[in-house]
Symmetry: C2
């Protein structure tokens, strides 16, 4: 079949709309599950309104930031308005940026909408057994998955259909990323402030159970699951997904057979979404199955469907003009990316699975005190970086070599297609990932609604499955971000060379490490993720200290609260307010620091320094995010392993030590670690967008 | 004056001998201090014999490793013996390697010899007041400083006088580094095993004071200060110092005016040593001075003397043949390096000084529990990496640009001279650094010898000064290692190109980040310091668990020990044995992992992959070592700040939390953090030595 790009763009938009319809159906299905418990409904409402309050305030703050950014973009990009002949380009890129932020905000909003319904439904469904409860949780998560991936495909396809311009697509992607950066940072600070404070006073000091309604921070904690894990994570993967497509498109458009390359990008992205739709539709717990197995089976199924469908499309359409079996080489790169994603996920799983050595050693070390818990968790976290980094290194190298014979410039395009491939099944990944906080919330609701031990056991089982698949999906997210930013480095070079051509300057052939300007950028770029994470963690630290003080105050001043006297309720809203205000105060500086550092390095050292800067940022960002995500997951599961009765069980010294580890791990794995992904992407996108300016206006460049 | 290289080499050897004579005089001076306390003499003897036992066992283990390495070097380097025409080169490089290990071992040995005498002398001198005690401690440390720097200058000068061959000098440097790598790792594991275990059971569980003689681990702890901090640190700076000179020599020999360049390297290194001799000779506490001020004043004095003398020599001798004011540009690079070293040290100091914000915030956070101590210390550690990395980046960039106009190849030589400059006053730095563990030991001896509160106050003051200057000297050490390995990257390229010329292959022009083989190496190289540190920390973790169990056993089984009954002593030797056996078991795998990874990457991806590998290794190595050294120092001082009566003082919840932080920080700052320096250097040296083989025998290179 002859390839017609417009048809393929149309089909992509069609599949995106299909995913919306499917999301709407899932939404309706989840909403129509029965619910009757008064207490759960009340608490559910509190969580929902807390989440909306925070999101509203956050979006108001971010819209101010986005407004300022939009004005700056309009004035300076792609070229300063006083220098350009085509002011329309500045208008287009500004609109693309704004639409990008709006799409990203929409993805977060949908997530909150469904998650704050599905949590109640999953809790109530647990009364009927594990299977219906699982399905309510999973399908709730899938609404998010379908909506996020649908909107990212729709957004990119529309931008491309209307403009066909890589730089404008970069503007759209930057809009998505910049919002995601702040949403993740803000949500991450909110959720961990509440989580840590609730645990510290509740579990550690007073010895009351998790999610005990007497705890003033308990609602804030559940709100946090939604605004941090659901909305934040959705924004994060939305942004990675868009960035991977845009990076591929930017490079595709500089190559011969432009339309064919671009068609392949959309084909594979759309097929990935279609495969995820099928995978989600088929997912359920088998007769003897466990929730973990159900989640993993659907992931593997989706992967297989993607492999078959994408191969079929590659064979069916006539891509032969690319030459030298190019379409199959590109397909190979995309499939390799996906495969490595799965492998990275599995290897990550090893370090956090409670049947494996790291968790067991950590639990044993906890017997000697909290310092040993920290040391062993931190060490395993560092070890865990190796397999993932080797995996990313190999997939970049192999996809490059695979596509190199197609022709000049195709090699880097190969890396970007590996990233697209790794993210192809992102719809499925998000569904799995959003399932986690929903069932976590359901557990809290079941506890607060007094649904009894049996129901709690079910929700515990569902929650634990959520934690297990989380390791895999996080590995995926980090791996995908890694490959995406490597291909964004290629996109940056494309942008620089396009600008250089226009200006009649010499073309870049690469970034030589032995050029001291590159090395200068490299060292500073490597320090940025550390500074960024430190600012976020210190934000959580400060904020949690404030909230702990507030909880102490309430237990001291509200008479009867500690004893659980009938009718005495804590002032939940005060804790929500502390988390909200603190998160809003801390979220802007960290993100801004990363962007400002990029601008400084670019205007001082020029494009060569930026090449190094992006690279240093990728390398140390990957290392730190793997370290933090995995050590955090390990500490979490180590604590659960002790709580399950090992090394003295609950209340033992080992348990106390393990709780310290878990608390340290909280902002590692849910605030800083995953935010680094977005930070790297934002830095790369800013660099690409500013390429022309850096080329012209740097001091030493 | 005309430059005659042999005269300058002779003068360098002369100054090296002068430093030995001065060291001998200092040794005699320290030994002749009065000592009379029976109990201190006894304990001092125990420490001394424990240290010798460990060193002996360690050196036996390492000599086996070095023997195997020597055989491999003989067979394969610089070219496989079955392929080369000049087997003599293989003999030479093997001998250079062996001599390098011997010199490094000698430096460690001297350190132990003097430190285990000076500790007793400083303790006894404290009875006469702070000034004589300070002088005994400082001059003890200076023996080490003079011997280490003297032997490194002597070694390199002799190798150069006899062979004049960069590759053979690399062999000498590799000998020094490989021994340092294992000595640091082994000593670091020993010292922290003992320190953590002693604190955990003694201070935390039983509430007995530090250095209480009832504690079975107390002697092991004091032994550890010597074998870890003194011998290990000496080997580390010996190796950095040699590596910086050798990197400069390798590059100098490929440039025009070879002899003049080489003369400058030796001139500046020798003048640095001479300045350190003068600085050490002048050091004493003024009338109203504090020990900290005395140490810092001598450092600044040495810096000033270096600046004047090196400028004088540059003016006096006729280096004009280099052209374009080359000698002054090179002098500028060396002085810039030294200046940046001081600045990096001061900026590091900010993050660990107990009068500054980080320590105060950490102490405050400790009120909320140990998790907050960890989170805030870790975050400040990450923040602390930025100024140092910016400093290293700027000094590399500026020294490159400064020397670029001299001619092709001089730019990278400029970086290596910045490293030589930064390390020029290393004799002074080591003297300051070795002072720390000596007075730490003296404090322990004063406690065990019952010298009374007044003496303890003096030794406490001396000890605290040791901790403060440690921050500066560590910043120096890391900065110097950073610049040295950047210049080793240049040396690697020189080596590759020399080999390529011989083989008639294309010359390297650099390492392009957008080359996927380079990127492949980059990602894996970045993971190695994390894996290496994790292995060391897990080693300490495992080992300390064993020792804690042994201490528990002794307190349980030895009747009267806990109560301190007259005549009942713990079995100190059992704890020493556990630390020794554990350290020997854990030290080889980590170091070997780094070397094997280098060989794997080199034989798989060739020289391009190695270029990336070294770079990734430098970048993540610097980040992690700064993070670990500084957070460790911060936790240590945070604990001391609380102990000084803040936030509840000793025994308060904040104090308990701060102790957890300090325990986590112990292997960070004294085992893993500083070992990473050596790991990076070893990787760079292995790469340079293997350049020819990687060029010929790689799979994808």
């Amino acid at each position: 079949m002859t390839v017609n790009l417009n048809v393929i763009l149309g089909a992509s938009i069609g599949i995106a709309i299909l995913s919306f319809l499917f999301a709407a159906w899932l939404f309706k299905w989840v909403s129509s599950r029965p619910s009757s418990n008064q207490r759960i409904a009340e608490v559910g409402k509190l969580i929902r309104s807390g989440a909306y309050t925070f999101m509203k305030k956050e979006y108001i703050a971010l819209s101010k930031f986005a407004g300022i950014a939009a004005v700056l973009i309009f004035i300076f990009l792609p070229e300063p308005i006083w220098k350009t002949d085509v002011v329309l380009d500045n208008v287009k890129i500004t609109i693309a940026y704004i639409v990008g932020t709006a799409f990203s905000a929409f993805a977060g909003k949908i997530g909150i909408d469904i998650a704050t319904i599905a949590n109640v439904k999953a809790a109530e469904a647990a009364k009927q057994g594990i299977k219906p409860s699982f399905l309510a949780g999973f399908r709730g998560g899938s609404v998010m998955g379908m909506a996020v991936v649908g909107s990212s495909l729709l957004g990119v396809a529309l931008v491309w259909l209307l403009t066909g311009d890589g730089t404008i697509a970069l503007g759209f992607s930057f809009g998505a990323s910049s919002l995601a950066l702040f949403a993740k940072a803000g949500g991450g600070i909110f959720t961990k402030t509440a989580d840590i404070s609730a645990d510290l006073v509740g579990k550690v000091e007073l010895g009351i159970p998790e999610d005990d309604p007497r705890n003033p921070a308990v609602i804030a904690d559940n709100v946090g699951d939604n605004v941090g894990d659901v909305a934040g994570m959705g924004a994060d993967l939305f942004d990675s997904n868009v960035a991977s497509m845009v990076a591929a498109l930017v490079m595709a458009s500089t190559l011969p057979n432009r339309d064919l390359n671009i068609a392949l990008v959309f084909c594979y992205a759309a097929i990935g979404l279609l495969s995820s739709i099928i995978g989600v539709a088929c997912a359920r717990m088998g007769k003897k199955g466990t929730p973990t197995r159900a989640l993993n089976t659907s992931t593997y199924l989706t992967t297989a469907i993607y492999a078959v469908l994408s191969a079929a499309v590659t064979a069916l359409f006539d891509f032969s003009a690319i030459g030298n079996n190019g379409e199959w080489r590109i397909w190979g790169a995309s499939f390799l990316g996906l495969l490595v994603g799965v492998i990275v996920g599995i290897s990550t799983d090893y370090f956090t699975d409670d049947t494996k050595k790291p968790v067991h050693n950590l639990a044993k070390a906890s017997e000697s005190g909290p310092a040993f818990t920290i040391l062993s968790g931190f060490s395993y976290g560092m070890l865990s970086a190796l397999p993932s980094m080797v995996g990313i290194a190999i997939s970049a190298l192999v996809s490059y070599k695979l596509c190199e014979p197609i022709g000049e410039g195709y090699a880097f395009f190969g890396i970007s297609m590996a990233a697209v491939g790794m993210l192809s099944i992102v719809g499925m990944i998000i569904s799995n990932d959003a399932y986690g906080p929903i069932v976590d919330n359901a557990r809290g609701l079941a506890e607060m609604g007094n649904l009894g031990e049996e129901v709690l056991e079910i929700t515990d089982q569902l929650d634990s499955a959520g934690n297990t698949v989380k390791a895999i999906t996080k590995g995926f997210a980090i791996g995908a971000a890694g490959l995406t930013v490597i291909s964004l480095l290629g996109a940056f070079m494309s942008e620089v060379n396009e600008a250089a051509k226009k200006l009649g300057e010499e073309l870049l052939s690469g970034f030589d490490i032995t050029n001291p300007t590159v090395f200068f950028g490299l060292l500073i770029g490597a320090a940025i993720p550390a500074v960024f994470s430190a600012m976020l963690i210190l934000g959580v630290d400060r904020n949690a200290q404030r909230m702990v003080a507030e909880i102490h105050r309430q237990f001291k001043e509200i008479i009867g609260l500690r004893e659980g006297k009938e009718g005495v309720t804590p002032e939940y809203d005060k804790c929500i307010a502390i988390a909200t205000i603190g998160a809003l105060r801390e979220l802007i500086p960290a993100g801004l620091a990363a962007i400002v550092a990029t601008l400084l390095v670019g205007f001082i050292g020029g494009v060569q320094a930026i090449g190094g800067f992006i690279t240093g940022n990728i390398v140390s960002g990957l290392l730190l995010s793997l370290l933090m995500s995995n050590s955090g997951g390990l500490w979490d599961n180590g604590k659960k392993y002790v709580e399950a009765g090992n090394h003295g069980g609950k209340g033992s010294p080992a348990h106390k030590a393990a709780v310290v580890g878990d608390t340290v791990g909280d902002p590692f794995k849910d605030t800083a670690g995953p935010s680094i992904n977005t930070q790297i992407t934002v830095v790369s996108l800013v660099s690409s967008l500013m390429a022309t300016l850096f080329l012209q206006f740097s001091i030493f460049g």
